[in-house]
C-alpha cells in the first residue's frame, strides 16, 4: 500500500451537539494531564524551582545578612551607642545597616555569645573606653561605625564635663561620602536578570518544543494518529497540542517568576524588584508570543519524523531558531542587540532583558510586539498546512523543503 496520504477534511475544530468539549480542548487536556503525571517532567520542574530558591538562599546567606549585625552589650545605656553607630553607618555607605542590641549580664556572658556565633561582636566597657570583641574577625564597617559612635559619645560626655561647646569644637571636621556610580551594584544585578530571562526562555522553549515534537512523533509511531485523524480535523489536533503545551510552559514560567519575585521580597530587594517589574511583566507577555510562534513549528518537526530517532534532524531548524538569538544576545554589540531585539523569537530573549537593564523607547517595544505577533500568525498558518500534509505520511522522514512544497 502506498503511504502518501493526506487529510481529506481540513477545517476548524468543532464541538458537536450537546455539552461536549471542543476537540482542541480535549486534546490540550490530554497533553497537560499526561505531562503532569510524568515523573521526569515533575522532577525537572522541581529542580528548576530549587535552583531559583537556592540562588536566593545563597544571596540571603552571603549578602542579605551582611548589613544586619547583632551586638552584645552589658548595659541598657550602651544601646544608645549602637543607635548612634547605626546612624553613622547608614550615612556612610551602608544605607541598609541595622544593629541589634543583645543585652547580657556581664562580659563573660557576652563573650560566650560571640563564641557561639549568636552575635557578631560584643561591645564591652574597658579602661579608658570600650573593647570590641569578635570571634575570629570583626567586620571593618561595623568596627568603624561603633568606634566612631563611641568616640562621639565620649567626646560629647567629656565636652559637657569640661564645659566646652562641642559643636564649635567639631566645626569643619565632618567628611561626607559621595559615589559617582551609586547603582553599579544594581546594574550588575539587572544584567543578571536579563541573562536569566534569555536563558530561561531558551531552556523552556527548547524543552517544551522537544516535548511537542516527541508527542506528535509518538502518535505517528504508535499509529494512533490514524484514529485521531479519522475522528477529528487534523488542525484541531494541532491546536490542542499547541494550547496544551503553551499552558504547561506558561505555568512553569509563572511558577519560576513567582518564586523569583518572592525571593526578591524575602531578601529585602523590593526596591530592585519595583525597578524591574515592568520588564518581568513584559517577559511573560513576550514569552507567550514567542512560545506560541515556535510551537506550531515544533509540531511540524514531529509530523515530519516517522520515528523518535528522526527528531534530532527534524527539530534542528527549531533549535537553530533558539540558539542563534541566544548567542547574538550574549555576544552581539549594543547596536546589534537593539536591532535584533525587535525580531520575532529574538525579542523574547532580548527585549525584556533590555527593559530590565535600562529604558527602552516605547516604539521599539511596540515594533517588537507587532512583529512577533505577525510572525506568530504566519508560523501557525504555515505550520498548520505542513502539519496537515505530513501527519499521515509514514514510511520515512520527510524534509522541511519537501513538506513546504507538498501539495494536497
Amino acid at each position: 500500500m502506498s503511504t502518501t496520504t493526506q487529510t481529506a477534511a481540513p477545517g476548524r475544530g468543532s464541538g458537536s451537539a450537546g455539552s461536549s468539549t471542543p476537540v482542541w480542548r480535549v486534546v490540550a487536556e490530554r497533553e497537560v494531564t499526561t505531562r503532569v503525571r510524568d515523573k521526569t517532567f515533575l522532577a525537572a520542574t522541581g529542580v528548576s524551582l530549587l535552583l531559583v530558591v537556592g540562588f536566593f538562599v545563597v544571596m540571603l546567606l552571603l549578602g542579605g545578612g551582611a548589613d544586619e549585625y547583632d551586638v552584645a552589650v552589658t548595659s541598657d545605656a550602651d544601646e544608645t551607642v549602637l543607635a548612634t553607630a547605626q546612624e553613622v553607618m547608614r550615612e556612610s555607605g551602608s544605607p541598609d545597616a541595622e544593629l541589634n542590641a543583645e543585652v547580657v549580664d556581664d562580659a563573660d556572658a557576652a563573650e560566650q555569645l560571640v563564641r557561639d556565633g549568636d552575635v557578631d561582636v560584643a561591645l564591652l566597657p574597658a579602661d579608658g573606653g570600650y573593647t570590641l570583641v569578635g570571634d575570629d574577625e570583626i567586620d571593618a564597617g561595623l568596627a568603624a561605625g561603633l568606634s566612631s559612635a563611641v568616640a562621639s559619645q565620649a567626646l560629647q560626655d567629656n565636652a559637657e564635663e569640661q564645659g566646652v561647646d562641642l559643636a564649635a569644637l567639631s566645626e569643619g571636621t565632618e567628611v561626607q561620602q559621595r559615589l559617582l556610580d551609586p547603582n553599579a551594584d544594581e546594574a550588575d544585578a539587572r544584567s543578571g536578570v536579563a541573562f536569566a530571562f534569555a536563558l530561561v526562555f531558551l531552556l523552556t522553549a527548547m524543552g517544551f518544543g522537544m516535548t511537542i515534537a516527541q508527542s506528535v512523533a509518538q502518535e505517528k509511531e504508535s499509529r494512533v494518529v490514524e484514529i485521531l485523524a479519522a475522528a477529528v480535523p487534523v488542525r484541531a489536533l494541532l491546536w490542542g497540542k499547541v494550547v496544551g503545551n503553551t499552558v504547561l510552559a506558561m505555568g512553569q514560567i509563572l511558577l519560576i517568576t513567582v518564586v523569583g519575585v518572592l525571593g526578591l521580597v524575602a531578601t529585602g530587594r523590593t526596591d530592585f524588584l519595583s525597578g524591574i517589574s515592568g520588564a518581568v511583566v513584559a517577559y511573560v507577555v513576550f514569552f507567550l508570543l514567542g512560545f506560541v510562534a515556535l510551537a506550531a513549528l515544533w509540531s511540524v518537526a514531529g509530523a515530519l519524523a516517522s520515528r523518535q530517532e528522526d527528531l534530532s534532524s527534524t527539530t534542528l531548524p527549531g533549535q537553530m531558531l533558539l540558539f542563534l538569538p541566544y548567542f547574538i544576545g550574549a555576544f552581539g554589540s549594543d547596536d546589534v542587540r537593539t536591532v535584533v531585539s525587535m525580531l520575532p523569537i529574538v525579542s523574547t530573549m532580548l527585549m525584556p532583558g533590555r527593559m530590565a537593564e535600562g529604558d527602552v523607547p516605547w516604539w521599539q517595544i511596540g515594533v517588537a510586539v507587532a512583529v512577533t505577533v505577525a510572525a506568530m500568525v504566519l508560523f501557525i498558518r504555515i505550520g498548520a498546512r505542513m502539519y496537515e500534509r505530513t501527519l499521515l505520511r509514514t514510511g520515512g522522514k520527510i524534509g522541511w523543503g519537501e513538506a513546504l512544497k507538498a501539495s494536497d
Binding site: 500500500m1 477534511a9 458537536s16 455539552s19 476537540v23 504508535s222 484514529i227 475522528a231 494536497d408
Partner: protein, 292 residues
C-alpha cells in the same frame, strides 16, 4: 445508509481504486474481501476521511458525508494504534470525548466496555502492559466507545485466536443495532461467511461482486448433490442430466432451471437415489469464481 459512489484514487500513474461503488446497509454486516492490494484499506480510509479520493464521493443518507457525521463513526485501522503509555480507561474516555461525548458519559461508557471485555481489573493499567490480544480488544473498544453511527473495521479479527474472535464477535453483535451499518474487511472467508449479510468483493481496485450473500450464491443456477445406487451415475448421464462432477456413486447435478422436486423426479426415474441435497457454494468458491 452509507454509500460509496464512483471512488477513484490514483497515486501518480498507479490506480489504487477504479470507480468503486457499493453500499453498506444499516443493521447489516457487510464483508469486504479481496486480495492484498485490492484497495480495501484505501477505500476504508477514504470513507473515514483520512484519505482524499481523486474523484467520487461518500454519502450518508444520500447527502455527502460531513466532518461532523464522520466524527460519529467508529474506525479500527488496519495498522493498530493506541497510546502505549496511557491507562485503559483514560484512553477510552479520551477517544469518547474526541468523538463528541461528554467527559462523564465517556468515563461511564469506558468502564462498561472494559468490564464487558473482561478487562475490569486492569482499568487503570497502562496499555503496553497488556498482552497483544488484550490490546486488540481495547482497540475494538476504542472504535465502539462513542456508540458510533457506523462502523468501519479494517481486518478486526486478524491475529486473534479463535476464542478471542468469539469474544470479539459477541461484543460486536451486542453493539449492533438496526440503524448501524458495519463494514469489515477480512481475509478469513469462513469468518465473513459466518457473520456477513452482505458482501463486497474487490479485485485490482474494482468491485467484482457486491450484494447480499444469498443473492451472490443464487447468481448461479442451483446445483444438487445426489448419491445413487452402484452404477447409477452412468444412468443419470444417459438420462440427459447435466453432471458437473462425479465421484464413484456421487454426482453434482445442475438444475438447469428446473424446480428441485422436478429434478428429483428426473433423477429418481434414472436411478435409485439414497441422497439428494442442494449444494451451497462456500464463500471461498464464490470468491474464486469472481476473482478468476
Amino acid at each position: 445508509m452509507l454509500q460509496v459512489n464512483h471512488l477513484t484514487r490514483r497515486y501518480g500513474d498507479a490506480t489504487a481504486l477504479d470507480d468503486v461503488s457499493f453500499e453498506v446497509r444499516p443493521g447489516r454486516m457487510t464483508g469486504f474481501v479481496g486480495a492484498n492490494g485490492a484497495g480495501k484499506t484505501t477505500t476504508m480510509r477514504i470513507i473515514v476521511g483520512v484519505l482524499a479520493p481523486t474523484s467520487g464521493t461518500v454519502t450518508w443518507g444520500g447527502e455527502e458525508l460531513t466532518t461532523e457525521q464522520r466524527r460519529r463513526f467508529g474506525y479500527m485501522p488496519e495498522e493498530r494504534g493506541l497510546y502505549p503509555k496511557m491507562r485503559l480507561r483514560d484512553q477510552l474516555t479520551f477517544f469518547g470525548r474526541l468523538h463528541g461525548m461528554t467527559a462523564t458519559q465517556a468515563h461511564a461508557r469506558a468502564t462498561d466496555l472494559l468490564t464487558r471485555l473482561g478487562l475490569g481489573e486492569r482499568i487503570d493499567d497502562v496499555l503496553e502492559t497488556l498482552s497483544l490480544g488484550n490490546q486488540q480488544r481495547v482497540q475494538v473498544a476504542a472504535a465502539l466507545v462513542h456508540h458510533p453511527t457506523a462502523l468501519i473495521l479494517d481486518e478486526p479479527f486478524s491475529g486473534l485466536d479463535p476464542l478471542a474472535v468469539d469474544t470479539m464477535v459477541e461484543l460486536l453483535s451486542s453493539e449492533l443495532s438496526p440503524d448501524l451499518p458495519v463494514l469489515f474487511s477480512s481475509h478469513q472467508l469462513e469468518l465473513v461467511e459466518r457473520l456477513c449479510d452482505d458482501l463486497v468483493i474487490l479485485s485490482g481496485g474494482r468491485v467484482v461482486a457486491a450484494g447480499p450473500v444469498e443473492a451472490l450464491r443464487d447468481q448461479e443456477a442451483p446445483r444438487y448433490r445426489v448419491v445413487v445406487a452402484e452404477g447409477g451415475v452412468e444412468q443419470l448421464r444417459s438420462a440427459g442430466l447435466t453432471l458437473l462432477s462425479t465421484n464413484g456413486s456421487e454426482a453434482v447435478v445442475e438444475g438447469n432451471g428446473q424446480p428441485a422436486d422436478q429434478l428429483l423426479d428426473a433423477v429418481r426415474r434414472a436411478a435409485p437415489v439414497s441422497e439428494f441435497s442442494r449444494v451451497v457454494r462456500p464463500l471461498s468458491q464464490i470468491y474464486r469464481d469472481v476473482i478468476a
